[in-house]
Amino acid sequence: MAEAGRVVSAVTLSQPAPLPIQNDPGLDYLESLRGALDLAASAAGGFVEHDLEVAGVPLRLSCAGDAMPDVLLPPFEHLATEARPPELRIGVFDTASTGVEPPPLPWPPLHATPGANPVARFESDRVCVLAAAGTGALTAADQAMGEAVFHLPDASRIPSSERAAPLREALHLLMAPRRRWLTHAGAVGRDGRGALLIGRGGSGKSTLALSCALAGMEIVADDYVLLETRPPVAHAMQSTAKLTEGSAVRLGLGREAIDPAGFEPTLEGPAKALVEIRTLVPGLIRRRLEIGALIAPVVTDLPEPALEPISPAHGLRALAPSTILQTGSRSSPVLGALGELVRAAPSFELALCPDPAANATVVAELVDGLG
């Protein structure tokens, strides 16, 4: 159960638009979606508001009732703050608890391939609409206004991908104009300074991140961070990690550390379970870490871990494709930002051995040597 938010009856998301009205089908759709959000809030007895600070930016979640915050908010509890004027707003509702459907998409429907979750994107100068065919998750964001609406068909049947990284697309869209880039990477460190863990799904990022946290290192995330590059800083998003059963066994995690939903199939490969980092390593989760190095883990059977410098271009190859392909925008300058990062911080490849503690020691020594 999420911590209780403030209940307000007035519609707080829809603000008078200070920007000139444009002929923008995305803007028209978002306006309709805001109307549905307001209806949903009325049906649910008002908005429940939760204030967060994400990547140093005050953000307010305005939720139609309690159903959505109960499932979306737990991974953000470490980012909760006192109420203050928000720079960014995200309104959320589901249909099952409010009876309100989002307006139909003004484009022909998207049909999902079985087992896949294709995401359709409409992008205009101001508005981006993302609709996931497999999960039914819908995100629409007005980047100029710093506002987004997120909808799920049924909060009580939230897909595991959304539970692991809720509001990922909304945060990506709202943070990009503020030069905080959604990046597919983990981050661990010591005394506020650390390393970015990079690589595609299955490369060992999550296992290495949790190995480091269990060895006493600070952790921001295992899979997604919001990255600033001037100077390089990794900011926290969700506090959930995803692990395969093999990784959980290797890390010595008992059943109590694993989310009750257990190991569920993932789109990218083997079944994974959610692990709440805050409860796994109390006191070690951080909102931000300065980044002094990039580490690309590689799973091996070597008896000991081996750390080797790699070129900045090699680092970019490990970091950029999965980040860019998941955000997908042709116009986003995120690749340039990642280029800045690999020029500013050295990259390494870490051949992981089967001993998590030994791998963590190598990361700690590297971080300690960053100065």
Binding site: P25, L105, P106, W107, P108, P109, L110, H111, A112, T113, G115, A116, N117, P118, V119, A120, R121, F122, E123, L130, A131, A133, R200, G201, L267, E268, S311, P312, A313, L316, R317, A320, P321, S322, I324, L325, Q326, T327, G328, R330, L335, G336, L338, G339, V342, R343
Partner: protein
């Protein structure tokens, strides 16, 4: 008859040059590419309005110390791979020829353009692709 001009397929790819290597990501297929050696110099000529193969050969010939045949073969192969992978497309219209950096002064030893293609993200990408849509084209239907 003028030779065909080619340019970067900016509608489908994003790219970044780091440390003498160009990383190109194809957003429509999920494949990504590394261009090294003299590849980044060729890629740079494909920016904007692009260049013809003859212009690329001339620019590399002015920059690098090599037999013309070696440059011609390397450029031809490299451009063919860029074209096959749809990283470059036909450019319309005439434009002032672009020259690669370093065309003046002492020539460097020729480093043939190196083209590497990576598809390890492709399966991952195809599971969760993002399709661009527009009011004209509509919401796409992915292949079954």
């Amino acid at each position: 008859m003028s030779e065909a001009r080619a340019r970067i397929n900016a509608e489908n790819v994003v790219h970044e040059t780091v440390d003498g290597e160009v990383i190109v990501i194809d957003l429509s297929s999920g494949a990504y590419f590394s261009l090294s050696g003299s590849g980044p110099a060729v890629w740079e000529m494909m920016l904007g309005t692009g260049a013809t193969a003859a212009e690329v050969r001339a620019a590399l010939g002015a920059r690098y110390e090599a037999e013309p045949d070696a440059i011609e073969t390397a450029v031809s192969d490299f451009l063919a791979r860029l074209r096959e992978n749809e990283l470059i497309v036909a450019a319309e219209g005439d434009a002032a020829p672009t020259t690669a950096n370093g065309a003046n002064g002492a020539r460097e030893p020729f480093a043939p353009p190196v083209f590497e293609r990576y598809t390890d993200m492709k399966d991952y990408f195809l599971l969760d692709p993002i399709h661009e849509v527009s009011p004209e084209v509509g919401w796409p239907k992915p292949a079954a």
